[in-house]
């Protein structure tokens, strides 16, 4: 996104909004990740405590999701940069 046509008051306002959204996005991602890893890892309800196997699964699920998101984010940022380049330098 291009904010070059925003004056400084608008940029300050937008920065505040983006910071708030980042917090909300993080909380939503957290909540979503709990649901996803719980669903994949917990299938035995004969006990109310996580087994060590389930706990390991939860840890791997969380770590893997973060790495997955980071990789998707990196590829996404690259393709956005390419698209912006192509728009500015039509051949």
């Amino acid at each position: 996104m291009d904010f070059s046509n925003f004056n400084s008051a608008e940029q300050a306002h937008m920065t505040k909004i983006i910071e708030k959204r980042q917090m909300q996005d993080f909380l939503k991602m957290y909540s979503n990740l709990v649901e996803k890893c719980f669903t994949s890892c917990c299938n035995d309800f004969t006990s109310k405590s996580l087994s060590s196997k389930e706990e390991g699964c939860i840890m791997n699920c969380t770590e893997k999701f973060i790495k997955h998101s980071e990789r998707v984010g990196a590829r996404f940022a690259e393709s956005n940069a390419e698209a912006m380049n192509a728009a500015q330098n039509p051949s």
Binding site: K16, K20, R21, Q22, D25, L27, F45, T46, E54, E63
Partner: protein, 100 residues
């Protein structure tokens, strides 16, 4: 929600600290989202979808209790992991707006 701070109510004269209210609302929405996902996940794990009866049977009831306990533990474990990873910025906002 993001624009609360700009309402007339944010003036100290009104006696209402909008920052405080806004934080409480974010907490409320977060707890609600968490709870709704717990309801939905434990429904998927514990409730038979044949719907032959309208009461929870014994097995379903016990399953729900354990499911809530496990779900809370998962929330704690995932939270600790995220905190140790400092993963607050893994989202789209960071990927797109890192340079503002």
């Amino acid at each position: 929600m993001s624009f609360l701070g700009r309402g007339p109510g944010s003036t100290p004269a009104g006696g209402v600290n909008m920052e405080k209210i806004e934080l409480a609302v974010t907490e409320l929405d977060t707890v609600t989202d968490f709870f709704n996902r717990m309801v939905s996940s434990c429904h998927a794990k514990c409730i038979s979808t044949r719907y032959a009866e309208e009461d929870l049977n014994k097995g379903e009831s016990v399953c729900i209790d354990r499911c809530v306990a496990k779900y809370n533990q998962v929330q704690k474990k995932v939270g600790e992991k995220l905190q140790s990873r400092g993963a607050a910025n893994a989202g789209a906002t960071a990927a797109t707006f890192g340079s503002l």
